[in-house]
Symmetry: C2
Subunit: 232 residues, 2 copies
């Protein structure tokens, strides 16, 4: 199966994209994985991904694979890192351009088995054995998310369109694995002026329902053009 192919006198590796998909639900950070039905690594779990085609760039490839394997589209996706170790795939030389994506899980409400039969969400505390070097990719994706959520408004990509401040705080606490002061968090997040108050609150709970907000994407774009920095 392995053949040597040369162009400019050099062998060419296969190139794939893989995508680490984060969701947030029930106070837990989760990852969408697909169970491999064929060798190599049959029975292990892997990120959705696949081979880059001749007529698409890596961004397009990552988005296409996401759509084909999970039905997801129009979600936040960003290049993470490229993995090019010699022996990462037993079938031959494979270079993988890894991506990570953020899903409004409660909104899209993806079910395991949308397109791929054995897709499943796993809390990051209970990740099953992963195929290839996907554990390394996962570690890097989590670090990227942790690092970037502090100074870019990524959190909102993981929550429904309308969310409460306690939900947002819970997300930050979960992702960053820290505790935050309720009063200070609310002050800081409202001080950015980037939350739109909908004067509407959650009903049907045995306690006061929290107020709903949404993120003002347009205002954020404006502000970031004038050198403003979001920061938690």
């Amino acid at each position: 199966m392995e053949t040597k192919n040369y162009c400019y006198e050099y062998p060419r590796p296969s190139v794939t994209t893989d995508c680490v998909i984060f969701g947030f639900d029930n106070g837990e950070l989760k990852i969408l994985l697909i169970e491999r039905g064929i060798e190599p690594c049959k029975g292990k779990w892997a990120f959705p991904g696949g081979f880059m085609r001749e007529n698409e760039n890596s961004d397009e490839c990552a988005k296409r694979e996401l759509r084909e394997e999970t039905g997801l589209q129009d979600i936040f996706i960003e290049q993470l890192f490229t993995f090019a170790d010699v022996d990462r795939d037993p079938r031959g030389r494979v270079v993988t351009i890894a991506y990570y994506a953020l899903v409004k899980l409660t909104q899209y409400n993806i079910q395991a088995g949308d397109d791929a039969d054995n897709a499943k969400w796993f809390p990051i505390s209970q990740i099953p054995p992963l195929a290839f070097d996907h554990d390394r990719i996962l570690r890097m994706a989590i670090n990227r998310l942790r690092g970037k959520i502090r100074y870019q408004p990524l959190g909102f990509e993981l929550l429904p369109e309308r969310f409460t401040i306690p939900e947002l705080q819970n997300l930050y606490e979960t992702v960053l694995e820290i505790k935050l002061d309720r009063r200070n968090f609310r002050k800081k997040i409202l001080a950015t002026g980037l939350l739109i108050d909908h004067n509407e609150s959650i009903k049907g709970q045995p306690h006061k329902g929290a107020n709903l907000y949404s993120f003002d994407e347009g205002k954020y774009q404006q502000l970031s053009n004038t050198g403003f920095n979001f920061e938690i």
Copy 2:
């Protein structure tokens, strides 16, 4: 020349690494470029780089190319981003894993033409027309350096082993394109406890010579393991 090669039924692109090399000299941030002697883009300037071999990963490839084309080794180098647009190289499909490197320019004292005949340092304010999509790569490298120098001790990689605080400040001011207060800068950088005082100062100037320091790499490693964050 272009042939279609399939493995797992998919065509394989060529894979290269390119490296954006930063140096700092004379109060200027500079980039090392190589003039292309052959088509395509003959006469334009490009980053050193080349095709990844069968028995090396991308890090090894980037370091090897650096050594072969500039004589540089054992310098700071890090993966930047992967460029995989369909038409970035007129010869065919080429995926480039870009790197950036930092050189202690005054120390290594690389001369234009070490190995590659037409290597030359350019101040970033006077970059000549670049080959392929290298202007995009350069922009991304500069942004990465600007972003990362604030919260990781990258600055020291661009200065000689022993440097003065005014030199270090000058570097930060140049890279970040801002002015910093001399007294506050000194206070902050010394407060980290990461500078070793050599009680030795620059001589032969028509004014007071500045004191020499070096960066305490070992202490930084220790501190960063215990959750310390460098920040300017």
